[in-house]
């Protein structure tokens, strides 16, 4: 489904197809706010997404230069030398604006804000620049939900299908 106009995009609920297409085409994710601490939510998401074949590049000025899960931590999005497909925002809603601007500047195709993070002004700027935007969702949970893993833990995936889905 083609979605380019920000004024048509509903950020309260997303079609499964929209989220599925994003997770299918994205390979390199820059995770802003990734923590080197193993029991932080960002570390969980990073480790899980790596296990599903995504490359996740951590961005965190406090931990810059360290290594997290085999990847060097960068101080900002603009310091990443490689091409980034998606920027995942693990920061407070209020500071998502400059992150969105950096995501546009480095040519990312998707701006994703984590569960609990929503900044409509930042989303509108990113969409105007041609990025697809997801807010208030976790890519780990969405990946698990859309690939029949979330139900393993007793969660309601909202998916009804008679098609066999391979893990």
């Amino acid at each position: 489904m083609e979605r380019t106009l920000s004024d048509r995009m509903n950020h309260d609920s997303y079609d499964d197809d929209y989220v599925r297409a994003i997770l299918k085409k994205v390979r390199v994710i820059a995770m802003v706010g990734a923590s080197p601490n193993w029991n932080r939510p960002s570390y969980f998401a990073m480790k899980y997404l790596q296990g599903k074949g995504f490359r996740v590049i951590p961005v965190n000025p406090v931990a810059a230069g360290q290594e997290v899960l085999g990847e060097k931590v960068h101080a900002s999005l603009k310091d990443i030398p490689d091409k980034v497909d998606m920027v995942d925002v693990f920061r407070a809603s209020a500071v998502a604006g400059p992150i969105a601007d950096d995501a546009i500047a480095i040519g990312a195709k998707v701006l994703w804000m984590q569960l609990g993070v929503r900044n409509d002004a930042a989303a509108a700027r990113a969409e105007a620049a041609g990025l697809e935007v997801v807010m208030n969702r976790c890519p780990k949970i969405e990946y698990a939900r859309l690939n029949a893993e979330l139900g393993w833990h007793g969660f309601n995936s909202g998916i009804i299908t008679s098609k066999r889905r391979r893990i």
């Binding site: 969980f44 569960l115 893993e149 139900g151 007793g154 969660f155 309601n156 299908t161």
Partner: protein, 430 residues
């Protein structure tokens, strides 16, 4: 189908049960295995740290049980569910993430008698204190619930009294005190009532009853709406604070609206251990597929039996909320428009002794301590399920000495009525 909202009947058959990814089996396989292999040590570590999805050990989760969990979560309109060994263990699991030693919760005094004993007696050993209140008196509920209250617990359609509780009002009182409302929805089932649509945060079930439907297997479930803000409430450290059993992981921050259900599995089932067996889950799934059809018939039969009893000379009163003259009929119309369930009570003019003669005089109805079976069931609560209670507690719970409880099954209404008629006449000494 993914973007439209399927109806209840469709969810009851399909939710959670895609064809088996390993084999393509269309019916849900029974995964009779205690354990699941790890790919490598790192995969094992990720699973133990809750960093990835997957199976480890069937005490905590199992693919067959998971199908039932997702099915029930979908039917109740919840975010996630935890299957467990029985309805009683569901009550322990539901409260376990919320209460610690010294904590309090408020519960309806019209609950099923087994719940009253569990809450009032056995939970004392955990240091959990229950305050019982009359759910007919919302002012009394309001006075009982305060900032110390960690949960409010009620049935909407109560067993055995035919009581209907105003759960929307109760949810408002609970939320004003920053605590969740837990509703035992065993008697109504999600086909007749979805408590989360009225503000309930957590629903518990004895799946033993109408959900499995044929009296074959014991089971329970806890379903979470995912809507309660455990951090904002400021009094649920097990969910919103660091968890020592997982090296300081904070469930609510890490798992968001999945946190409560994650906790029920990863701490509740792991450390208390009341697991549902895959076989039990499979039998229950068979029942759930036909829930809508069965509940319509249960309710239609119950309404006919209630009408018959109302006109019988040996019967003093009938407490079925579906009867227009019943004091709960207004609430039944609001919460249970498709039917007032199939479990209700009536009183015998002959009192306690007539009650005993009645349950011994039936031929087709079964005298036993269960409800929600395809078979019609009868019991005299004062001499059985409610005998641990004082007479005052029995009367408060709608189980006084003259009370007979019926669970109307799926036989023909004519045959159920004929058996009751002959037993009533014998009990009255005619």
């Amino acid at each position: 189908m993914t973007d439209s909202k399927p109806d209840f009947e469709t969810l009851a058959i399909h939710a959670g049960a895609q064809p088996d990814p390993a084999t393509g089996a269309r019916a849900t396989p029974i995964y009779a295995t205690t354990s699941f292999v790890f790919d490598d040590v790192d995969h094992a570590a990720s699973l133990f740290n809750l960093q990835t999805t997957g199976f480890m050990y069937s005490r905590i989760m199992n693919p067959t049980v998971a199908v039932l969990e997702e099915r029930l979560a979908a039917l109740e309109g919840g975010r996630g569910a935890t299957g467990c060994a029985s309805g009683h263990s569901a009550q322990v699991l539901a409260l376990f993430p919320l209460l610690s030693t010294g904590d309090e919760f408020v519960a309806s005094n019209k609950l099923y008698g087994g719940s009253i004993t569990q809450f009032g007696q056995t939970f004392k050993k955990f240091g959990w204190t229950v305050k019982f209140v009359d759910p007919d008196d919302m002012d009394a509920v309001r006075r009982a619930v305060d900032e110390k209250t960690k949960a409010v617990f009620t049935e909407c359609l109560a067993n055995p009294g035919g009581v209907v509780v105003d759960i929307e009002a109760m949810a408002k009182i609970a939320h004003a005190a920053n605590c969740p409302l837990i509703v035992d929805n065993t008697l109504a089932t999600p086909y007749l009532l979805r408590p989360m649509e009225w503000g309930a945060d957590i629903v518990v079930h004895s799946t033993t009853k109408f959900l499995s439907g044929t009296g074959t297997t014991i089971g329970g479930a806890v379903i979470d709406s995912g809507k309660f803000d455990w951090a904002k409430a400021g009094k649920f450290p097990d969910l919103a604070g660091p968890c020592a059993a997982y090296h300081g992981l904070t469930f609510f921050e890490t798992f968001g609206d999945l946190a409560y259900t994650m906790h029920c599995h990863a701490v509740g089932l792991r450390d208390l251990g009341p697991t549902m067996s895959p076989f039990g889950a499979w039998i229950t799934l068979l029942g759930v597929e036909t829930l809508a059809l069965r509940m319509d018939r249960h309710c239609a039969n119950a309404a006919r039996v209630a009408e018959f009893l109302t006109g019988h000379k040996a019967v003093a009163w009938v407490n079925y909320a579906g009867l227009p003259a019943n004091k709960y009929n207004r609430l039944a119309k609001k919460y249970l428009p498709k039917g007032a369930g199939a479990v209700f009570t009536f009183g015998l003019k002959g009192g306690y002794q007539a009650g005993i003669r009645m349950v011994e005089g039936v031929n087709m109805l079964s005298h036993l301590a269960n409800i929600g079976d395809s078979k019609s069931l009868i019991i005299h609560p004062a001499s059985t399920t409610h005998r641990q209670l004082t007479e005052a507690q029995q009367i408060a719970a709608g189980a006084g000495p003259d009370v007979i409880r019926l669970s109307i099954g799926l036989e023909s209404a004519k045959d159920i009525i004929a058996d009751l008629d002959q037993a009533l006449n014998r009990a009255a000494g005619n």
